[in-house]
């Protein structure tokens, strides 16, 4: 049932569904994840007053339905480019119920800076470490459980192109949206 999973007091969009916003640096596979989370009903529009494209779609996991918003690439809340400014504005104006921060292990030391900023802003965050397959090839091993412990938020490892870890992500999203105590999820 629509909205059945809405447990947090955040504002509800025109669709009446809780909002899940995907953020992260460019080229970390956000749009692949977006496609995997949403079905065929996706609308793409330019963010008001800009050329920057923002995709919205409807996601479903079990009994839970939610709106997924894909944002342009961003490195920091203090953006330089128009894309970054749009993403920041979107986080500010849309009052997301949940922010999914997507990053790759390759660039973790730089990308975690945005995670810290999102947490600073008081947003509810799930961290996704994507492209794990490529990271392993580079010899990088990420201790997702430890990262989750230190950050105090759920961390999910994925290889979205191969569809790996997407079920875990969906599970983590549902858990966060329903307000049940978030389990630590890792692969």
């Amino acid at each position: 049932m629509a909205g059945s999973c809405h447990g947090s007091p955040g504002e509800v969009g025109p669709t009446g569904l809780p909002k899940v916003v995907l953020v992260g640096a460019p080229n970390v596979g956000k749009s692949v994840l977006f496609n995997l989370l949403t079905g065929a009903y996706v609308t793409v529009s330019n963010y008001p007053g800009t050329t920057v494209e923002v995709s919205r779609g409807r996601g479903r996991a079990g009994e839970c339905e939610f709106e997924v918003i894909d944002t342009p690439g961003m490195y920091s809340l203090l953006g330089i480019s128009e894309e970054e400014q749009v993403s920041r504005r979107l986080l500010w104006q849309e009052r997301p119920d949940l922010v999914v921060h997507v990053m790759e292990a390759r660039a973790m030391d730089r990308s975690l800076s945005l995670t810290l900023q999102l947490l600073e802003a008081g947003l509810t965050v799930i961290l996704v470490v994507n492209i794990l397959d490529e990271a392993r090839r580079l010899g990088l091993e990420v201790d997702l459980e430890k990262l989750s412990r230190r950050l105090g938020i759920p961390v999910v490892g994925t290889a979205a192109v191969r569809g790996q870890g997407v079920d875990l992500l969906k599970k983590a999203i549902v858990e966060r949206l329903t307000g049940r105590p978030a389990e630590r999820v890792a692969v």
């Binding site: 640096a25 460019p26 080229n27 749009s31 692949v32 496609n35 996706v42 793409v44 050329t51 494209e53 920091s76 809340l77 203090l78 480019s81 128009e82 894309e83 400014q85 920041r88 504005r89 986080l91 500010w92 104006q93 009052r95 292990a105 973790m108 030391d109 730089r110 975690l112 800076s113 810290l116 900023q117 947490l119 600073e120 802003a121 008081g122 947003l123 965050v125 490529e134 090839r137 580079l138 010899g139 990088l140 091993e141 990420v142 201790d143 997702l144 430890k146 990262l147 230190r150 950050l151 105090g152 938020i153 192109v161």
Partner: protein
């Protein structure tokens, strides 16, 4: 509880003091708002100035000033660096570096080859040849257009529309609005669906593949050196490459460039020297049997592009643009993403540009009915003859004003009567000549009427003078195209 980092004492103190002053409700925590204010974020300043009483906002500004005074570096850097240290520590704790698997993957090798100028430039040529020439030019503008145009429209749709209109619409004037040589359906829709759709669609498909492969940032790095000479930076390669698809869309995208100066130069060059895919498709088809003519046309446009860019960058005041970009690894594009992007762009194209096609058809119809065309053509005829072309090409140039591709397509119809040299001169002049109506309106929207007027006033005479010079040069040199 989630992790919160603590900054050094003076910063924390400033944050605490600002948080106390903030009374409004914000979507972000007050701590984050305070930190963004310390970092001089303009949008946040406006947001807070609008929410808080002016007195407390002034106090906030005073705190920011005082805090900055205690540091040599700008606060945004101090804060970013502090956060970076925390991040590096965190990453070190959770990321382990094992021995790398030996050898490089194919993608790595290709990645290196695309960056090194000696191999990168030939690779660019290969990408352009197969992506642009073979796929967009030969397949999109050739095979698909031929099928839709000759088989579908000329064979079925146009005869049907013409006869239906003749039976059901009693007035000649209205008949010619819908059907006939300049009708909305027989010309406007036919051009849009049979010519533009396959060309633009195939271009957007190629562009999305290139975009998703991670090649564009490497290309940007490769051309940065050259682009600096024309007052742009490597990043401008994205709107410029997009311009070969649709100059209107590229003009829109040029706003992502950093400075006003760069935006202006990019807009001018897009309007002047970058042929859109519709025009490109027809011109490539027109010159396809004549390699010399095609080389002359392409070389001349490249020369104009660089020369005008260089001179403009010299004339326009402003600082040198800077180039900084992450180079992602080359990856195999995901077909689903590529298709989605292509469809989104085509959808945009049809919503934004298609209505203007219809408008152009109506204007052409009105021009024909009122006889205004005859007058304008009679003005244009001597100009056209001056650059060595037959008087009849004046009609082609007039059409080019309405849609770049109308003009090129008109030229296609008269190709048989022109010499190789005339073809080169006509194609080059037509490419340089004013942008189409859609691009013109986008320029007005993005750059304002002053800049647009200046650009158009420059381009109109420049196109013909350049055509004249080219004609003269070809005659002198005796190059047989």
């Amino acid at each position: 509880m989630s992790l919160q980092i603590t900054y050094e004492a003076p910063l924390e103190e400033a944050v605490a003091r600002i948080c106390e002053l903030l009374q409004g409700r914000y979507p972000f925590s007050k701590r984050a708002v305070a930190l963004l204010l310390l970092q001089g974020d303009a949008e946040m300043q406006a947001e807070v100035a609008a929410t808080e009483e002016s007195k407390s906002y002034e106090l906030v500004q005073e705190i920011v000033r005082q805090t900055q005074a205690g540091y040599q570096r700008p606060l945004n850097f101090v804060i970013a660096q502090w956060r970076q240290q925390a991040t590096a520590d965190l990453a070190a704790d959770v990321v382990g570096q094992q021995a790398q698997s030996p050898g490089r993957s194919l993608a790595d090798w290709l990645g290196w080859l695309t960056m090194w100028p000696v191999t990168g430039i030939p690779i660019l040529a290969v990408v352009l040849y197969f992506g642009l020439y073979q796929f967009v030019g030969v397949f999109g503008a050739g095979t698909v257009v031929d099928f839709l145009e000759a088989t579908l429209f000329a064979g079925y749709i146009n005869p049907w529309v013409n006869s239906t209109v003749q039976i059901h619409v009693p007035w000649m004037v209205l008949q010619s609005l819908i059907a006939g040589d300049y009708g909305i359906i027989t010309l406007g829709v036919r051009y849009a669906v049979a010519i533009i759709l396959p060309i633009v669609g195939s271009f957007f498909l190629v562009f999305s593949v290139i975009e998703d492969s991670g090649y564009l940032p490497r290309l940007a790095m490769l051309v940065d050196w050259l682009f600096k000479r024309i007052g742009l930076n490597g990043r401008a390669v994205i709107p410029m490459a997009l311009g070969f698809g649709c100059d209107t869309m590229a003009t829109l995208v040029s706003r992502t460039l950093e400075t006003r100066r760069e935006k202006l130069i990019a807009t001018l060059l897009l309007a002047l020297a970058i042929p859109c895919s519709a025009q490109l498709g027809v011109i490539l088809a027109l010159l396809s049997g004549r390699p010399t003519a095609m080389a002359l046309w392409a070389g001349f446009l490249l020369l104009v592009f660089l020369l005008v860019g260089y001179l403009t960058s010299r004339l326009l005041p402003g600082s040198r643009p800077s180039f900084y970009l992450e180079l992602p690894p080359l990856r195999l594009p995901q077909w689903r993403n590529v298709l989605a992007k292509t469809l989104i762009r085509m959808q945009w194209y049809f919503i934004e540009v298609f209505p203007l096609f219809v408008l152009a058809s109506v204007l052409l119809w009105a021009g024909q009915i009122t006889g205004a065309f005859g007058v304008i053509i009679s003005w244009l005829t001597p100009v056209v003859e001056w650059i060595g072309l037959p008087g009849e090409t004046a009609r082609v140039f007039l059409f080019g004003f309405f849609r770049r591709d109308y003009g090129a397509a008109g030229l296609y119809d008269m190709a048989g009567t022109l010499t190789g040299q005339q073809l080169v001169v006509a194609a080059a002049t037509l490419t340089l000549f004013v942008p189409c109506i859609a691009q013109f309106s986008m320029m007005l929207k993005e750059r304002g009427w002053k800049a647009t007027l200046a650009i158009v006033v420059f381009i109109f005479p420049f196109a013909f003078v350049a055509g004249y010079v080219l004609n003269l040069a070809l005659t002198w040199l005796g190059v047989a195209a």
